[in-house]
């Protein structure tokens, strides 16, 4: 399997600093995009980016190419850090999140459909109720919490949690079914 990011991560795991620089060049724009979208503040995103690459270097030996792709792994490191930071913010103001989701969701969907590899998840998303699919995307892409999503969709928090848990399991079943 051709996965240049995975190869760089494996070199980082054995302390290859040149590989670390290549990894930064190859992935920093994508990770900056992730952090800016989730944290919505440039200064904090840049600070978080430094923390993300620090973690990537320190944890590169935990990356297992047998379990997933390199780009997926580095994006997960960035998303996890952003989610931790979002949850530690004292109070989330929800309005700008809503605007951002409204603004980017159609574009995101078009991009998904245009990509062959992403077709499965796009089609499986299509089987979900639109409101639940939108809540799932808001959670994943913007780091929205159950409380954010519950107030955005005007449902009780527990209902939102049930929606998303069922939505996740439905997605899984749909994608496993397509693979079989």
């Amino acid at each position: 399997m051709d996965d240049p990011i995975a190869a760089l991560l494996q070199r980082c795991a054995v302390q290859d600093r040149a590989a670390f620089r290549e990894l930064y060049a190859a992935t920093s724009a994508k990770l900056m995009g992730v952090l800016l979208r989730m944290l919505r503040e440039r200064h904090e995103a840049e600070e978080a980016l430094q923390e993300v690459y620090t973690r990537i270097w320190l944890r590169a030996d935990r990356f297992d190419p047998g379990k997933g792709r390199g780009m997926t792994w580095v994006i997960a490191v960035a998303r996890n850090l952003a989610i931790d930071r979002l949850r530690m913010r004292p109070m989330e103001t929800d309005t700008d999140v809503v605007e951002m989701v409204a603004d980017t969701t159609p574009r995101a969907e078009n991009r998904l459909i245009a990509l062959g590899e992403a077709r499965a998840i796009a089609e499986c998303f299509g089987l979900l109720e639109p409101e639940r699919a939108s809540a799932l995307r808001g959670a994943y892409l913007d780091g929205a919490s159950y409380a954010d999503l519950a107030s955005r969709h005007a449902v009780p928090l527990n209902t939102m949690r049930t929606w998303l848990r069922r939505g996740l399991m439905a997605l899984r079943a749909c994608m496993e079914g397509r693979r079989a």
Binding site: R17, K30, I121, L164
Partner: protein, 211 residues
């Protein structure tokens, strides 16, 4: 594996686990390979959504990141050029070709740059720079208890602290002289794992560089 763990792993990847549950899940994740596999599977399953993150050119933050991860290596690989240029500029401005000045420019005496801790504080450290090395010396107060360490951090304005190592009585580390506005701080940390990626213990002494 249980369905509950499978759902929880999905919620973890989605990012919606409430904070307390998220922390508990992360602790389990470190020691449970089955859970790690579930998380990796969810990450791959949802990875198509990553296409929706539009790339944004990032500034070159590698110097800061490398300073954080490899303070000594950065000092030796990057300092000589500007050190050399500064030396040339100074020599040219003052005494062109004055070879005898070399020992003076090198400065065998390290220059004081800051004292960490107020004059009456129980624990104080003096910071000096000799042109190549940052030197921190404990000038008042006891050594930390066994198992603990006094860890030195350098903090650029608006940036996260970077560990420069543990101070026994004196710490000498190859590192450029921090400019004005940077902060030096000493925290009390577990002795194991120095240098740590980030401070966790209390600050026992600190000073901002003022000149």
């Amino acid at each position: 594996m249980t369905d509950d763990d499978l759902e929880r792993a999905g919620e973890f990847v989605l990012g919606t686990l409430p904070h307390a549950e998220r922390l508990a899940f992360q602790a389990r994740l470190d020691r449970e390979p089955d859970l790690q596999t579930m998380v990796a599977d969810w990450q791959e399953r949802l990875s198509a959504l990553n296409e929706a993150y539009a790339p944004v050119p990032a500034p070159d933050l590698l110097p800061q990141i490398e300073a954080r991860l490899f303070p000594t290596a950065r000092a030796t690989s990057r300092r000589p050029l500007w050190h050399w240029l500064a030396g040339v500029a100074t020599a040219a401005a003052l005494f062109v070709g004055a070879v005898v000045l070399f020992p003076v420019l090198r400065g065998p005496e390290a220059q004081p740059i800051a004292v960490l801790g107020a004059p009456d504080a129980p624990l104080r450290f003096a910071a000096r720079h000799d042109g190549d090395n940052l030197i921190l010396e404990r000038i008042a107060g006891p050594a930390p208890a066994p198992g603990q360490a006094h860890e030195l951090w350098v903090i650029a304005p608006g940036a996260a602290p970077v560990s420069l190592g543990a101070v026994e009585t004196t710490l000498t580390v190859a590192y450029p002289a921090p400019p004005a506005g940077w902060t030096l701080a000493v925290t009390l940390e577990p002795a194991a794992g120095v240098p740590h990626p980030a401070p966790t213990g209390p600050v026992v002494a600190a000073a901002e560089i003022t000149s």
